[in-house]
């Protein structure tokens, strides 16, 4: 469905292009980490969801978070997307905190908006806008956030639709598409803003197995053809093994183990990792 | 003209008479509305085409014609037909009849949400139609309808002020009489407004308690 040849026609997702587009401060080019969580703790009320979490991801690295449900994986992605605020700790994107300015004061809305533009996110439930057509879904952010002209945004949108193999659905509404198609649109909608970091939260969990494949194919393409940094939460272990540079295992709000896919899947150190992998693989 | 405390205190007893009548009218017409609404709902669900048409007409009347017009109509037209009824029963009756129509919708809505399996179970147990309704469906229907009904009773209470138009001494009427007598409107209307607001509180308390219990 999505050959490498097709990909070469479409826009490259190289960070340089994205950096140019958003006029990022030069210092961040030399940042060591694309995203960095430092001693993050997160409470929901009295319920502690993340415990002094440390996680660093290099630019271009593909990191997959696995672990039992409720262990805090989604929360990590939502924190990176500024959909939640941590209770303690700091998060930096290309060296810039998404919480505080250099004087240690909380960021203003506009400062935060500038930094969070470097992240994109795809959700488990797609979250396409049901009242807009596929094309309108894709051009909404470019026209309102990047202030592109409608024509320019639509041309770009068509390219991305071609990339996910759905150029025939331009004027369809989300409700007219299968779940797999909707999720591919959601991926295109995130990619069109050229994020340097892409957060994927269980993007195939709401799909029937036969539809999951087409979505994973798109992600494989993105992972192999571009330098975008990927932070993935998934229960598809084969896929995780294939695309990840590194796997981090979550349990009860902590990372209990991390390492290369080979290490984690073949020689897990923790008992809990072993137990978790067994339960997933036997499933 | 500034606020005159001595005058304000002077009219309080009169306003209290209004409060008393407001409570009386609210209670009496709520009773009509709640019971009448239930009967209308049962009539519509269980009866023939004729019964349904009758209920539909009643509902349209309540929805499309202002209470004020209905009040005037009964108040001025009935005497022409030789029937003289004092204003208070007329007020209670009209409010009750109009809100009965609204309430019947609520009952009907809550009946629709009762799962059909439950009716099947009643049939399976060989319960008679009468027992099914009396012991199973109606109690369930009422229980589900409580918050919406409470809202309508609150709405009915607020509309009792309208009855001053035909001379019922509700709080609004007493305030107006007091104002007209002394040509001072600030104190009576302000006090009436505050008292009306305060009288909302029990309703709001009940509604919030119900929400807490069932949230």
């Amino acid at each position: 469905m999505l050959s490498a040849a097709e990909f070469s026609h479409s826009r490259p997702f190289v960070p340089e292009a994205a950096t140019e587009a958003h006029g990022v401060a030069p210092k961040s080019k030399h940042a060591k980490w694309a995203i960095e969580f430092e001693r993050i703790s997160k409470f929901f009320g009295a319920h502690r969801v993340l415990v002094d979490l440390d996680l660093q991801v290099q630019p271009g690295e593909k990191v997959t978070l696995i672990g039992p449900s409720g262990s805090g994986k989604t929360t990590v992605l939502r924190l990176a997307m500024t959909l939640e605020k941590p209770t303690g700790g700091d998060i930096r994107i290309f060296g810039e905190s998404i919480l505080f300015d250099s004087a240690g004061k909380p960021l203003s809305t506009s400062q935060e908006a500038r930094i969070r533009r470097r992240c994109g996110m795809v959700f488990q439930q797609f979250n396409l806008f049901p009242h807009l057509t596929v094309l309108q879904n894709l051009v909404l952010a470019p026209t309102t956030v990047l202030r592109q002209s409608k024509e320019q945004a639509e041309n770009t949108a068509l390219e991305y639709l071609r990339m996910v193999g759905l150029e025939g659905k331009v004027h369809a509404y989300p409700a007219q598409l299968s779940g797999g198609q909707q999720q591919r649109i959601a991926i295109a909608r995130a990619l069109i803003l050229k994020p340097e970091i892409l957060l994927l939260d269980e993007i195939t969990s709401a799909l029937d197995p036969e539809l999951a494949g087409e979505v994973l194919d798109v992600v494989r393409g993105v992972a192999h053809e571009t330098k975008v940094t990927l932070l993935i939460v998934t229960h598809e272990m084969r896929f995780a093994r294939e695309v990840s540079d590194r796997i981090a295992v979550f349990d009860a709000g902590r990372i209990i183990e991390q390492g290369s896919p080979d290490k984690i899947f073949s020689y897990p150190e923790c008992d809990r990792t072993r137990a978790f992998l067994q339960s997933v693989l036997n499933h | 003209m500034t606020w005159d405390w001595s005058y304000a205190v002077e009219i309080v007893p009169n306003l209290m008479v209004g409060v008393w009548y407001t409570i009386l009218v609210t209670l009496a017409s709520s009773a009509i509305a709640l019971i009448g609404g239930l009967l209308l709902a049962i009539l519509e669900i269980a009866s023939t085409r004729l019964g349904r048409t009758f209920v539909r007409f009643w509902l349209e009347l309540a929805r499309g014609v202002p209470i004020l017009i209905l009040l005037y109509f009964t108040f001025y037209v009935l005497p022409q037909l030789g029937i003289t009824i004092p204003a208070i029963p007329i007020g209670i009756g009209v409010l009750g009849v109009v809100y009965a129509a609204y309430c019947s919708e609520v009952y009907r809505g809550s009946l629709i949400t009762i799962p059909t399996e439950l009716r099947d179970a009643c049939v399976a147990l060989n319960l008679s139609q009468y027992v099914t309704w009396q012991r199973v469906l109606v109690p369930l229907m009422i229980k589900r309808a409580v918050p919406a009904l409470l809202n309508y009773v609150l709405g009915l209470f607020r509309e009792t002020a309208m009855l001053f138009a035909i001379g019922v001494p509700v709080l609004m009427g007493e305030a107006q009489v007091a104002g007209n007598e002394s040509f001072r409107f600030l104190e009576p209307f302000t006090l009436a407004g505050i008292i009306y607001m305060a009288m909302n509180l029990p309703f709001l308390y009940l509604l919030s308690r119900y929400k807490d219990k069932h949230a």
Binding site: Q125, L140 | L61, A192, M197, L204
Partner: protein, 234 residues
Amino acid sequence: MEAVLEYWPVLIQGLWVTVWVSSCIILGAALGAIMLGVLRVSRTGVIRVLSMVFIECIRGPSALVLLFWVFYALPLLPGMPQLSPLAAAILVLALDGAVYGAEIVRAGIEAVNRGQADACHALGLSRFQSFTKVVLPQALSQIVPAFGSLARGMIKWTSIVSFIGVQDILYVANNVRAQTFETTIVFCLLAVLYWILTVLCGLVFRELEQVLPLNRALRAARAPSAYAPAGAAQ
């Protein structure tokens, strides 16, 4: 009957006033309801509580009491204006409609899936853009039908404006009744006129529902395969 109909020019004029007042208060209420509804779901607790108190204070005393207070009592307070009957009527009824409508708007906003706002945030939209372009258009599908029945009710509310001297249909009809003594006919005519107005209002809102973006999308999805995958590369 003829005796009453002879007064048709004034009756039409009264009807016109009723229609005009109704339109004004429904429009005003719609705008006010959206603003108050937004405050009602504000992220700031104080704003939420204040807007709730305001709402209860407006609807606590009924529109009638509020109308009399604004028209007769308010001007007696130092520095307060004496509003014309028409202005007072429109102000009070629109305000009352706005506070009832605010609860409708709040419920509509809360019914929109949280994920929609999350997606907007992830795409970099501001909270205002997210509200106007994504949340509100979807919420309207729930708001408009409920607001439609509120609007029907608001037409009936206008009958109280004659108390402070606005010459609406009820005011005019009462004069006609005093001159012709045709009580039954006059009130039947009034009932029918109000009923027609409310039915028309219901129709307008039914039409409005048809053009809402989410309803259009869902209709398109229900229609059998308007989008056969003609050029879709699958």
